[in-house]
């Protein structure tokens, strides 16, 4: 059991980091959104790890389900905005859209 918790945390954290990398490193909006999804996967793994450690799969799976629902709605809204953004100026390149400064 311990090793699995360890594994979940290890890979979960790693996945989150890769997700952030994808989010920051790519220019294509859709790849950036994929990065967001990757972050979600990693977070799910970490949540599961925490729940298993405490030995309460029932509690943690409720949290995970809630999290998945939130992520689904977020993905829908995100992708909706991406589609509209595409309609406005046809490019999905986020660097082209740097009219706004930090």
């Amino acid at each position: 059991m311990s090793s699995e918790v360890y594994g979940l945390f290890f890979f979960g954290l790693l996945t989150v980091m890769v997700g952030v990398y994808l989010l920051l490193g790519y220019r294509n909006l859709i790849r950036i959104m994929l990065g967001v999804e990757v972050i979600s996967k990693g977070t799910t793994m970490i949540l599961l790890g925490a729940g298993l450690y405490q030995g309460r799969p029932d509690f943690i799976q409720v949290l995970i389900v809630t999290f998945i629902i939130v992520e689904a709605i977020l993905a829908a809204v995100m992708l909706g905005i991406v589609i509209i953004s595409h309609k406005i100026h046809v490019t999905l390149d986020i660097r082209r859209q740097s009219k706004l400064k930090g």
């Binding site: 290890f10 994808l22 294509n28 999804e37 793994m45 389900v65 939130v70 909706g80």
Partner: protein
């Protein structure tokens, strides 16, 4: 042990997503990763979460991504930033390093994982906890879904009545 293998699979798929040249392949990799993650959830007794992960993540979200990809196919997307792809292995090593350090630092926490609370959790347990203990969250999710509906509607179904606030160009 099976879990570790599955985790590795998930992770490899995630990497595949980062390196895939074709967006569609990346989306499929995401879907497959979700399937494996759902299996992991199932193996550890989180049935309901596994079902949600399958239907929502590898199902719904993949469909959303594929639709978006096909709807935006005619974007003048220049060739993807190859540099990011090449740098990924290097960063990956860095991430693994950080990860190991972090977990070693947290080490004492992992020593005594508690035993799993037995069985009735696998069946009626979810409903009781979800609807009973966490009713507040259910209310929040209802509001969330409503907000998602409004958001999608306001993105795609607006009456033609909007003209720019700025009379001409500003700044």
């Amino acid at each position: 042990m099976g879990t570790i293998l599955l985790l590795l699979l998930v992770f490899l798929l995630v990497l595949a997503m980062g390196l895939a040249r074709d967006l569609l392949k990346a989306a499929i990799a995401l879907a497959l990763a979700s399937v494996f993650l759902a299996t992991i959830l199932f193996l550890h007794g989180a049935w309901v979460a596994a079902v949600f992960e399958l239907s929502v993540c590898s199902g719904l979200i993949t469909v959303l991504f594929v639709s978006t990809i096909s709807l935006t196919k005619d974007s003048d997307q220049k060739e993807e930033a190859k540099l990011t792809g090449y740098l990924l292995p290097a960063f990956l090593l860095f991430f693994i390093g950080v990860d190991c350090l972090a977990l070693r630092w947290l080490g004492p926490f992992f020593l005594d994982a508690k035993a799993m609370v037995p069985a009735d959790t696998l069946t009626g347990g979810f409903s009781k906890v979800f609807w009973g203990d966490r009713t507040t969250d259910v209310l929040g999710q209802a509001a969330l879904i409503l907000s998602g509906v409004f958001a999608i509607l306001s993105l795609f179904k607006r009456k033609a009545q909007h003209h720019s606030l700025e009379g001409g160009k500003h700044e």
